[in-house]
C-alpha cells in the first residue's frame, strides 16, 4: 500500500469487499446492513480525500502503465458515485424497510449493487480508455441482473430491453474506441500505454481528423445510449420505473453522469484534433433532441417514476448542451450534474417510499400525499421544485449560468428554444406534482411517516441542494474551475 496506491485502494476495494461480505453474511441481520453502509462510507471518505489531493494540485496515478489516474473531473464523478452508493446502502432493500424483500433478494441486491458501484468507480478513475469502456459495459451487465429484483412481466421486459439496447449501444462505443486506437497506432506506433487518455490527448494534434470524426460518431452514439440521450433513450423510462427505487436512484442519479463523463473525455480529445465546432454541433443537436422529446413526453404521463425518468433525460440533454457552450457552459453543466445527482437520487428514494405506501405507481391514485406522509410529501415537493429549477435550490443557479453561457456564446436563438421546452416541462411537472400532493388521502392508505429515521438522509440531500443553490462551497467552485481547464477547450 504505497503512498500513491493508498487513495485508490481505499476508494475501489470497499465496494468489492462489501460484495463479498454480502455473499457471506446473513442478509436479514441489521449488522450486515451496518457493515455494508460503513464500507460505502469508507469509499465516500476516500473519494473526498482524492478531491482534497486533486485540489492540492496533484493528479494521483496508480497501477501498471499508470492504468488509474484521478484528475478534477474523475474526482468529482467519484464523489457523486460514492455519495449515491452510500445513500442506496443506507436506504436500499434490507431488513426493517416497509418493502419486504426476501433474504435472497436482499443478498442479491447488495452483492450486485456493490459490484455496480465498483464498476462505476473503476470507469471514472480509469486512465485507459479501453478499461473505461470495459467498466461501463460491466455496469450494464451488473445492474441488469438486479433490475428484475421482483420478477414480473413488466420488470423482465424492462431488464431485457435494458441489457439488449445497452450492450448493443456500448458495442458501438467500443468500435469508436478501436478506431481511435487504430488511428493512434498507424501514426504514432504500437505502445502499451497507447489507450491512455493522457497519451491520446498529448498526441492529439498528430491524429487524422476524418478518422477521429468517425470514431467520435460511434462513441457519441454508444455512450449516448448509456447516458440516455435521444433517440437512444427509449430503454431509460422502462428500466428506471421497473427497477427497485434504490437501483434506479443509482442509475438515474449517477450512471447517466458516468456515461456523460466518458463523452467529456473523448470530446476533449476530439476537440484538440478536429477543433471544437464538430463535436459541439453534435452535442447541441443530441442535447436539444433529448430536451425536446423529454419535455414533450412529460406533458401526458401517468406514472411518477416514469416522470422522474423523463426528467433525467431532460436534464442530461441540458448538461450535454452545456458542454458545447464554451468554458462557462462546461462550468454550468458540471454544476448541473452535481445538482441533478443529488436531486434525482433523493427523488427516486422518495418515490420508492411512496410506492411502498400507496402500492401503485399511478399518479392518479396517489393523492393527499402531504396528509399521508407529511415529511416525505414535503421533501418530494421540494425535490420536484428543485428539478423545476426554482430558486432556493441549486438547479436555478446552474440553469441560469447555463443560459448565461448560451447567450454569451451568441446562441440566443438556441437558448430561446431551450427556454420554451423548459417552460413546457415546468408546467407539466407542476401539474402532476399538484395532483399528488393535495386532495383527500385515500381511505385504504395508512397515515403516518413509517420509518422516520430513513427520511433523515433525504432531508440532508434537500439541505445540500439549498446550500448548492444559495452559496456554492468554495472547494466545489475550485474543483469546477479545474474541470473547465480540462474539458472546456
Amino acid at each position: 500500500m504505497t503512498a500513491t496506491s493508498a487513495p485508490f485502494l481505499t476508494l475501489l476495494l470497499p465496494p468489492l469487499v462489501a460484495a463479498l461480505l454480502a455473499l457471506v453474511l446473513p442478509p436479514r441481520r441489521l449488522l450486515s446492513g451496518a457493515v455494508h453502509a460503513a464500507l460505502a462510507l469508507l469509499s465516500l471518505g476516500a473519494a473526498l480525500g482524492l478531491v482534497h489531493l486533486v485540489l492540492d494540485g496533484g493528479t494521483p496515478t496508480w497501477g501498471p502503465t499508470d492504468l488509474f489516474r484521478v484528475d478534477a473531473l474523475s474526482a468529482l464523478l467519484a464523489v457523486c458515485v460514492a455519495f449515491v452508493t452510500t445513500l442506496s446502502a443506507l436506504l436500499g432493500p434490507g431488513p426493517g424497510r416497509e418493502q419486504h424483500y426476501t433474504p435472497a433478494q436482499i443478498r442479491r441486491f447488495r452483492v450486485f449493487a456493490s459490484l455496480f458501484a465498483f464498476t462505476m468507480l473503476v470507469a471514472v478513475t480509469a486512465n485507459n480508455v479501453g478499461v473505461m469502456w470495459i467498466a461501463i459495459e460491466a455496469t450494464t451487465i451488473v445492474s441488469a441482473v438486479i433490475v428484475p429484483l421482483t420478477v414480473s412481466k413488466a420488470s423482465v421486459e424492462a431488464s431485457w430491453k435494458y441489457i439488449l439496447i445497452g450492450s448493443v449501444g456500448i458495442a458501438l462505443a467500443f468500435v469508436g474506441t478501436v478506431l481511435g486506437y487504430f488511428d493512434f497506432v498507424t501514426l504514432v506506433g504500437q505502445r502499451e500505454s497507447a489507450l491512455n487518455w493522457t497519451v491520446l490527448l498529448a498526441n492529439a494534434r498528430v491524429l487524422h481528423p476524418p478518422v477521429i470524426e468517425l470514431a467520435f460518431v460511434f462513441i457519441l452514439i454508444g455512450y449516448g445510449t448509456k447516458a440516455g440521450l435521444a433517440p437512444m433513450h427509449t430503454w431509460l423510462p422502462d428500466a428506471h420505473s421497473e427497477a427497485p427505487s434504490a437501483l434506479s436512484a443509482m442509475m438515474s442519479g449517477v450512471l447517466l453522469a458516468v456515461a456523460l463523463y466518458a463523452i467529456i473525455r473523448w470530446k476533449a480529445v476530439v476537440a484538440s484534433v478536429v477543433g471544437p465546432v464538430f463535436p459541439n454541433r453534435l452535442l447541441v443537436g443530441l442535447g436539444l433532441l433529448s430536451l425536446a422529446i423529454a419535455a414533450l413526453s412529460l406533458v401526458i404521463q401517468r406514472q411518477y417514476k416514469r416522470l422522474l425518468a423523463y426528467s433525467s433525460i431532460e436534464h442530461t440533454g441540458l448538461m450535454c448542451m452545456g458542454l458545447a457552450l464554451g468554458p462557462l457552459g462546461v462550468f454550468a453543466s458540471m454544476l448541473h450534474l452535481v445538482n441533478h445527482t443529488v436531486a434525482k437520487s433523493m427523488m427516486f428514494f422518495l418515490s420508492g417510499r411512496i410506492l411502498d405506501r400507496y402500492g401503485t405507481p399511478e399518479i392518479g391514485s396517489v393523492c393527499g400525499l402531504l396528509r399521508v406522509m407529511p415529511w416525505t410529501g414535503g421533501l418530494f415537493a421540494a425535490g420536484m421544485l428543485a428539478l423545476l429549477g426554482l430558486p432556493p435550490f441549486g438547479m436555478f443557479l446552474s440553469e441560469f449560468t447555463l443560459l448565461r453561457a448560451g447567450f454569451a456564446d451568441g446562441q440566443g436563438g438556441l437558448m430561446a428554444v431551450v427556454l420554451v421546452f423548459l417552460a413546457v416541462a415546468f408546467v407539466s411537472l407542476l401539474g402532476h406534482l399538484n395532483r399528488m400532493l393535495y386532495g383527500a388521502a385515500p381511505a385504504e392508505v395508512r397515515l403516518g411517516e413509517g420509518s422516520r429515521w430513513a427520511v433523515l438522509p433525504l432531508a440532508g440531500c434537500a439541505a445540500a441542494l439549498v446550500v448548492l443553490g444559495v452559496a456554492v462551497p468554495a472547494p466545489m467552485t475550485a474543483l469546477l474551475h479545474r474541470i473547465v481547464e480540462i474539458a472546456g477547450r
Binding site: P64, L67, N128, G130, V131, W133, I134, E137, A138, T140, I141, A144, V145, P148, V151, S152, K153, A154, V156, E157, A158, S159, W160, K161, I163, L164, S167, V168, A171, L172, F174, V175, V178, L179, Y181, F182, D183, V185, T186, L187, Q190, E192, A194, L195, H208, P210, V211, L214, P237, D238, S241, E242, S297, I300
Partner: protein, 219 residues
Amino acid sequence: MSPEIVSQLSVGGSTLVLLGGLMMLWRRGVAAHIGAFTFQSVALAATMAMVGWFAGDWQLWAVAVLLLLVKGIGIPLLLKRMGRRFGSERELEPYVNTATSLLIGGLLVLLAYIVTAPLVSVSRLPTRTGMPLAIGLVFVSLFIIISRKKALTQVLGFLMLENGIALLAVLGTHGIPIIVEIGVFLDVALGFIVMQVFVYQIHETFESIDVEQLNRLRE
C-alpha cells in the same frame, strides 16, 4: 510470409467471417443459426492466428486459442442446450423476408465500404483491406438484432457484433493491449451468461421467447 499473401489471407478470412453473418440472415431455425455462429468464430480464430503468426506476436496466438475455446466450443454448447429447450418453437416470420434481408445485408456492406474509405487510406498495415468487411459485419449483425423476433436470435446477433469488432481490432491494429483484450473477452462472456439467464426468465414468464410480446411498457 510476404505482405501480399497476408493481405490475401486476411481478406479471405474476413470474407468467411462475414459469410457466417450472411448465413444467419439466410437460414431459419435455431440449429442453423448456431452452426453459422460456430463457423464464424472458427474463421475469426484462424484469421487471428494467421495475423499473429505474421506479426510474430505471441499474445495474438493466446487470444486466438482462447477465442476458439470460448466462442468456438463453449458458447455453442450452451446455445445448443438452449436450442433444445426452445428450439422446438418454429422461427416466426421475421419482419423482413429472406430475399430483402439479404439485399439489405449487401447494401450494409456497401455502406461499410464507403464509411471505412478514410480508414483504409490512412493505414499502412497489409491487413487493412479486410477492415471494410469487419465494419460490414458490424452493420449486418445490427440488422439481425433489429429484424429477428426471437430472443435467442438476438443474442446471437449481439455475439456476432462482438466478433465483428474483434475482427476490426485485429485487422486494424494487430491486436489491442492484452489487458483490454482480456477485459473485452470477460465482458462478452459475462454478457452472454446474463442474457442467457434472461432468456430463461422470459420463457418462464411469457411461455415463449418471442420478443414481440414484450410490449406492455408503452405510453
